[in-house]
């Protein structure tokens, strides 16, 4: 007998949640699935957990939901069995699984029995990692074990009343004396902006479920891209400012690179100097990674490298091709970065790209400098194809900065009045020798210079031409 054939856990004392209670898990599950498609996998009971399956935008998926009307949704052995059954079904059918969380964590009264059961849930989540998409929606408090459940999944969505923490305010106060409320401890501000635990924070529960539906469809029904797929080109150059020194918001460029209204951004507020967005190109789900010059000048730094690395590994695990939009002045220098582990966390991005087997195409829009050039899916890391827009630069650093180092003595010996002029001459010479896109092309680190107006079709063609491989690894929450 397989896990999917096991009878639903039998409730000892049946307590049907009130239909008008907004915490009613059946209600939440029905709202998640397409109208009339939800089928319960388990009987109503007092296990504190419900599960079922149905369609999300026509795509088959499994979901489970905490029953916060029973002991605050606390997880005991019976409730954990419901989650295990949901996972067994999702794994057998190779379909996405969505968890709706509202739980105080392991059931205290059950003692180690509940801890063991929660541990088994963590185990199956980890074994399912990278095999099936796992999406979590936190609608109420998710404490202790209920915090780590979502944290182990691919994408975490936080509703307006969602709170994620290891220990609640009362325990914090009694143990350390720190006075803090639930929102400051585990709301959107800490997790969507500071910790990166949450990928998406929403204003309403409906919006949280809608985001889960969009992501389920993007990952569960990725679509196909063929050479015959019609691609509508749009000119993307208008999203760059006229001055090459000027910073700008990369979001409009990402939006127009993807099919209209197809995108969902992850970790929008955490490490905003890099943008990670799932969307469609010619109907095929792709993952876009783009430096955002508006924030920190678009520099890579410790959190942004880690954010991008996790996104690359998630896409690779699910066979989602990557589009990498590069405009990066370098790694952010400084004591803060070094102490924050920019070397260790930056290495994760190198590892993630070099390991990825999905089609992954790079477009250098303006510049790619130094170590950040290597990290942003360079040829050396195995990029499927590297495009550059006309005028883009690929170099160790800007040419003026480079000649100031290379010709420091000579420049210092020059009279002040001609120094700038000589500096510029040397810089132009340096561009010809070491930088410039022609040099990059002759070295084979850039394949082709393309007009911004044909970027979409060039990306699609490069993806179609590549083998549709998928990484064989889990998606550890880096």
């Amino acid at each position: 007998m397989t896990a999917t054939e096991q009878p639903a856990p039998v409730a000892k004392k049946v307590k049907v949640p009130r239909e008008d209670d907004p915490r009613n898990p059946n209600k939440r599950l029905r709202a998640l699935f397409d109208d009339g498609t939800y089928v319960a996998l388990t009987a109503d009971g007092d296990s504190g957990m419900m599960a079922g399956h149905g369609l999300v935008n026509g795509t088959h998926a499994v979901a489970f939901a905490s029953d916060a009307t029973v002991m605050g949704g606390a997880m005991g052995a019976e409730g954990c069995k419901v989650i295990m059954a949901a996972y067994a079904r999702a794994l057998a059918d190779e379909i996405p699984v969505i968890g709706l969380w509202h739980s105080g964590g392991a059931r205290l009264a059950e003692g180690v029995v509940s801890l063991h059961a929660v541990g088994e849930v963590f185990n199956i989540m980890t074994r399912a990692s990278g095999r099936i998409p796992q999406i979590s929606v936190v609608l109420g408090a998710a404490a202790g074990g209920a915090a780590y459940g979502p944290a182990l999944t691919d994408i975490v969505i936080l509703g307006p009343n969602g709170r994620v923490f290891v220990t609640g305010p009362d325990v914090v106060r009694s143990v350390t004396g720190e006075d803090v409320n639930m929102e400051r401890l585990g709301g959107a501000e800490p997790h969507a902006r500071r910790s990166g635990v949450v990928h998406i924070a929403t204003e309403t529960d409906e919006e949280a479920l809608e985001k889960a539906r969009s992501l389920t469809h993007l990952l569960g029904a990725p679509g196909e891209l063929e050479s015959s797929t019609p691609i509508v080109d749009v000119d993307l150059e208008e999203h760059l400012p006229e001055s090459a020194k000027r910073a700008y918001d990369v979001h409009p460029l990402v939006q127009h690179l993807l099919d209209e209204d197809s995108s969902v951004e992850l970790h929008e507020r955490w490490a905003p100097n890099i943008v990670t967005t799932l969307g469609r190109l010619g109907g095929r789900t792709v993952g876009v990674i783009a430096n955002n010059p508006l924030r920190l000048g678009g520099c890579l730094d410790s959190p942004s490298a880690e954010k991008a690395a996790r996104f690359v590994r998630m896409c690779d695990a699910f066979g989602v091709p990557l589009v990498v939009v590069v405009d990066v002045p370098g790694y952010l220098p400084g004591v803060g970065q070094e102490w924050d582990g920019v070397v260790r966390r930056g290495a994760k991005l190198l590892h993630a790209f070099a390991e990825a087997v999905v089609p992954r195409v790079t477009v250098v829009t303006r510049k790619a400098y130094g170590g950040a050039y290597i990290a942003m899916n360079s040829r050396a890391l195995g990029a499927t194809r590297v495009f550059a827009w006309p005028g883009a630069t690929v170099a160790v650093m800007g040419s003026v900065a480079a000649v100031r180092i290379l010709h420091r003595r000579r420049l210092a010996d020059l009279p002040e009045e001609i120094r700038a002029e000589v500096e510029q001459e040397l810089a132009d010479e340096h561009d010809l020798l070491a930088g410039g896109i022609e040099k990059a092309k002759s070295l084979g680190v850039v394949d082709e210079v393309i007009e911004p107006s044909v970027t979409r079709s060039a990306l699609a063609a490069a993806i179609v031409a590549a083998a549709p491989l998928r990484g064989r690894h889990g998606n550890i929450p880096l």
Binding site: S243, R246, A247, L296, G297, P329, L332, G334, G398
Partner: protein
């Protein structure tokens, strides 16, 4: 809601775009910074009325320094 706009990174203040008493919309640039050889606008998140401008053009700001306060 009061808003403190802080520097995200070490930078030079290239130009101030607002003065005390100005009305600032959400997403509006208040200062242009210069760092990493780029000109980076610093945007207000919520918006409001400028109560304090704590920097002058040419100043060097450190990460976390308050640049402009809004009421």
């Amino acid at each position: 809601m009061a808003e403190q706009i802080r520097a995200e990174m070490v930078a030079n203040v290239l130009s101030l775009l607002v003065a005390s008493g100005d009305r600032v919309e959400p997403g509006q640039a208040v200062v242009i910074m210069e760092s990493m050889k780029m000109e980076i606008p610093v945007l207000a998140e919520h918006g409001g009325t400028v109560t304090t401008v704590s920097v002058a053009e040419g100043d060097v700001v450190q990460e976390g320094d308050v640049i402009v306060e809004l009421s």
